[in-house]
Amino acid sequence: MPLTLPFRPRRETYPPDMWTKCPSCSEMLFNKHLAKNLRVCGTCGHHFRISAKARLDQLLDPGTFRERDEGLASRDPLGFVDSKPYADRLVAAQLATGRRDAATWGFGALGGRRVAICALDFGFMGGSMGSVVGEKVTRAAEGAFVERIPLIVVSASGGARMQEGTLALMQLVKTIGALERLRAAGLPYISVLADPTTGGVFASFAALGDVNVAEPNALIGFAGARVSAGTIAEELPPGFQRAEFLFSHGFVDRIVTRADLRDELALLLALLRPAGATDDASGSVRRG
């Protein structure tokens, strides 16, 4: 296939510019510094969105991640077409992100402890949950179940993927069912809620952590703001649907900055070790 395309280089490889303006404090941030700072504004602490890969790199012990099921790709079950076909949107997102869908899961070690982990990528169609995201979250929970290890899911998603219709909706039951089996087996599940975690993702696995950890100021809610503010005429309270709002109403255990997240999760894993499990952090970590 000898093709010549006006392909734009990907941002990581050739940054289109060297600076990024912080949307929160308007400070111009040098991209290299921003990356070194885990994509958190050094001036105001604004947490930029990051890819699933960057998230896993930040959280897991170097070299321990073994991805599973990376080849899963949606089949466009409805043949959905709006202003353009869903199939085209999928290919565009795949080419842009280098991923086949919005979730990445596998086994790895965090602070020396083996975990099953799944991270969502907002950059792939808004991190929306269709068949593949639902399947990967479910397989991550099943992987944790089989190995009797903790599960971590890092969410960053606008919700269910409309283009897969009720099959996307059914992913709520599928993922929750897997979490119920994990729970019955006495295994801990930590849900990390990054910006944004909304709609059907929040109303399924993201809300159900034994521990819910959120990044500062992350948008977390069920109904879209457009709906909340439009359909139902009602003045929205300040900080509505932000991590701190969820915290003050009792739906988030901890708000943790990205710089502290890895250590915080490591400590939680140590304290929430499944009953009867040995502490593998001091010994050798199994590689998957």
Binding site: R10, L95, A160, M162, A225, P237
Partner: protein, 364 residues
């Protein structure tokens, strides 16, 4: 299970003959949406009156309050005890304000959980009636954790050790519907609809105007018949005459017969079998291929040549459980053509930045 994988409705004998050949499929599905929303359509309590010999409504979630949009309580049908849980729309404006148009609030879903657990304790099968535009999208619902309540209600249904029959009688609107719709058997009335988001909400996001709601309704295949083909609904029950609103009593009689039949079918299963079978019903939903795990994904950090990237993106090397569901549109020629035209490059970058897709937020 095989039927579900093949996308065949399990049961066709009660399915209505197809409606007269529609002039335009968009008009046909939109007519169904209108029927499902018809204010004169019998709602849960009216149907329960026709279906049951006795029913006592219970109120309150024991945590915050009572939600008029979700009703429930123990009942008797043909001498058999069951637990009823359902959305409740109002018959007129006053009642709709009181019942919030059938849009559940957290306390409604938590009342449902309370009733599910009571049913389990007493060994009562559960019958749920689904008829809602969606969960209430207001600020107070967010404050009290509507997502948490929905997720926990679904979780309660996943582990419940008694049979659950779900009847979609009108609007099956998104997560607010699903919260009480994760049954062993999912039955729908002929003019009921079921969707991940309201057609107006879908149209507003993807078509940028709610005017395109009929297009969205068609694209989402939200009619009961289409949902039966997808396997989301097991059984479609014909409505009398022009629709349930012309004869609520007859609609109730038909639903009653279906409930009794399904109860008989589920009675043969032990609690363990029930939970396992229900888990299996929902575990298989999804339509995806496994394109293989050996190569870096196209566009990954090592930046293989574009030709490789396209080839890897377009060539399936394996197939998975979801095969039977999809496959209506090939991803072959069209994608390659668009890529050749370079359209994906620009659009892909937009997607990367999260601009192409407005966040696919659910309306409810």
């Amino acid at each position: 299970m095989v039927d579900r994988l093949l996308g065949r409705p399990r049961d066709r004998e009660t399915a209505p003959s197809a409606p007269p050949p529609p002039e335009d499929p968009r008009d046909a599905v939109w007519a169904r949406v209108q029927l499902a929303r018809n204010p004169r359509r019998p709602h849960t309590l009216e149907l329960v009156g026709h279906i049951t010999d006795a029913f006592v409504e219970l109120h309150g979630d024991r945590l915050f309050g009572d939600d008029g949009a979700i009703v429930g309580g123990p009942a008797r049908i043909d001498g058999r005890r069951v637990m009823i849980v359902g959305h409740q729309k109002g018959a007129d404006t006053d009642e709709n304000i009181r019942r919030n148009f059938g849009m559940g609030k957290p306390e409604g879903f938590r009342k449902a959980i309370r009733l599910f657990e009571l049913a389990e304790r007493l060994g009562l099968p559960v019958v749920t009636f689904v008829d809602t535009p969606g969960a209430y999208p207001g600020a107070e619902a967010e404050e009290r954790g509507v997502a948490d309540a929905i997720a926990r209600s679904i979780g309660a249904m996943c582990r419940l050790r008694v049979p659950i029959i779900t009847l979609i009688t009108g609007e099956g609107g998104s997560g607010g519907a699903l919260a009480i719709a994760a049954g062993d058997v999912v039955v729908a009335l002929e003019n009921a609809v079921y969707a991940v988001i309201s057609p107006e909400g879908c149209a507003s996001i993807l078509w940028r105007t709610p005017e395109k709601a009929p297009d969205a309704a068609l694209a989402m295949r939200m009619s009961a018949q289409d949902q039966a083909e997808l396997g989301v609904i097991d059984r479609v029950v014909a409505e009398p005459g022009e629709g349930a609103h012309v004869d609520a009593a007859e609609t109730g009689r038909r639903l009653r017969a279906v409930i009794l039949e399904e109860l008989d079918g589920l009675a043969a299963l032990s609690p363990d079998e029930l939970v396992a079978k229900r888990g299996g019903r929902y575990r298989v939903f999804g339509a995806f291929d496994d394109l293989g795990v050996t190569e870096p994904i196209p566009g990954a950090a090592d930046r293989p040549g574009l030709a490789d990237r396209l080839r890897r993106a377009l060539e399936p090397v394996g197939k998975s459980v979801g095969d039977a569901l999809g496959g209506r549109t090939g991803r072959d020629g069209r994608d390659a053509r668009d890529a050749r035209e370079g359209r994906d490059a620009r659009e892909g970058r937009d997607a990367r930045e999260g601009r192409d897709e407005p966040p696919a937020r659910e309306e409810v």
